[in-house]
């Protein structure tokens, strides 16, 4: 019998040395194994150790067809959020961008400009800190912060929890500021009404080609920091042409969140609530 766990399997010297303990299904129970040797370490047993069953029938493997979407659970939760939001006539806008594109500055300005006409609230996603939430609160909107820790995107479950905590008002406008990242958030439907990608003139014109999943998923693309164009070599025409390669239908608006350029167009787009994001395929 195995001195380590009392089972009838054999164990290789290598795995014994590592303190790992697995038994193959075809063990013949001969058991002259590398285990009765004098170890000088004690072998406390807090670790998991899977055994294959030793009965003759239970070792037979069988295949179970699942045919399940890996993101199926997220999709269901996203649909639940979408229904919850639609029932309350809340327009939820998922804002996505790389870090430093000016998402929070744009939100502060939008809240100050629109706050008298419509109730605005915000769900802030960041890996760490409550700094952005404090800025948003300072601008006059209710806000819930989600810290994703090591997570690089928001998912539908996180949004669902935040919605219940925030309790946005009927008919209001809700911004979801996703984690600053142009890769991962593209994949996770939150149940939002529209997806907006913010790029800025201090980034490359080739961002749409480098991150095509994100730009393809967008309903609207805001090109921020156009006030800096005189000091940069950024070519707006080239940027727009690159957007068209990955997304022929999304609207592109040039804005400056600090100086105010183009913001009336952004506010008109928000007021029209024309985009209604279909679930991601």
């Amino acid at each position: 019998m195995c001195a380590t766990c009392g089972c009838s399997g054999t164990i290789g010297a290598e795995s014994a040395a590592l303190g790992v303990h697995g038994h193959g299904p075809s063990d013949d129970h001969d058991h002259d194994h590398a285990h009765e040797h004098g170890h000088d370490h004690s072998h406390g047993h807090g670790h998991e150790h899977p055994h294959a069953p030793s009965g003759p029938d239970s070792t037979a493997a069988r295949t179970v067809q699942l045919e399940q979407e890996i993101l199926g659970k997220n999709r269901l939760l996203a649909e639940r959020n979408r229904g919850w939001l639609e029932g309350r006539e809340i327009f939820a806008v998922n804002l996505m961008s790389s870090p430093g594109s000016g998402k929070t500055t744009l939100l502060e300005r939008t809240i100050r400009d629109l706050g008298k006409e419509v109730v605005v609230s915000v769900i802030e996603g960041d890996q760490e800190t409550r700094l952005d939430a404090e800025r948003i609160r300072g601008a006059g909107a209710r806000v819930v912060q989600i810290n994703t820790g090591t997570g690089c995107h928001l998912d539908a479950q996180m949004l669902g929890r935040a919605l219940h905590e925030l309790g946005p008002a009927m008919g209001s406008l809700l911004f979801v500021e996703n984690v600053g990242n142009l890769v991962c958030p593209a994949l996770f439907d939150l149940g939002e009404g529209a997806r907006v990608v913010i790029a800025s003139t201090t980034e490359g014109e080739d961002k749409p080609l480098k991150y095509p999943h994100m730009f393809r998923a967008a309903d609207l693309i805001l090109l921020n920091k156009v006030d800096l164009l005189p000091y940069l070599t950024f070519d707006v025409g080239r940027f727009t042409a690159h957007v068209r390669l990955v997304n022929p239908t999304a609207k592109v608006l040039e804005v400056s969140a600090t100086r105010g350029d183009g913001l009336p167009g952004w506010y008109r787009w928000l007021a029209s609530r024309e985009a209604s994001a279909p679930p991601r395929v």
């Binding site: 294959a52 179970v64 890769v183 994949l187």
Partner: protein, 109 residues
Amino acid sequence: MHELSISQGIVESVCEAVPEGKVLAVRVEIGQLSGVVSDSVRFCFDACAQGTRVEGARLDIVDVPGRGRCGSCQREMDMPELVTRCPCGNPFLEILRGRELRIRSVEVT
């Protein structure tokens, strides 16, 4: 690193769908245009499986090649990347295949 979430999703779905027995292998389909990198899923899978009934299971990944259709000339073609230009000049193809993120089957004892 959304592949970590994808791997967690695989392990959780398998544990829910197969309530008992030891999982020996999991077969998944990952489309070339899904935005998910197979090697990264492989890298994360073992870590996500630790302490579950999927621990130690083999992960078989079937890479599904991308396939698209041109909206201008209706031609169908291989679409190895999201930005693939049709020979007719149209730069934007409709995706027919390659977005798959599916768990096909599991092998259990």
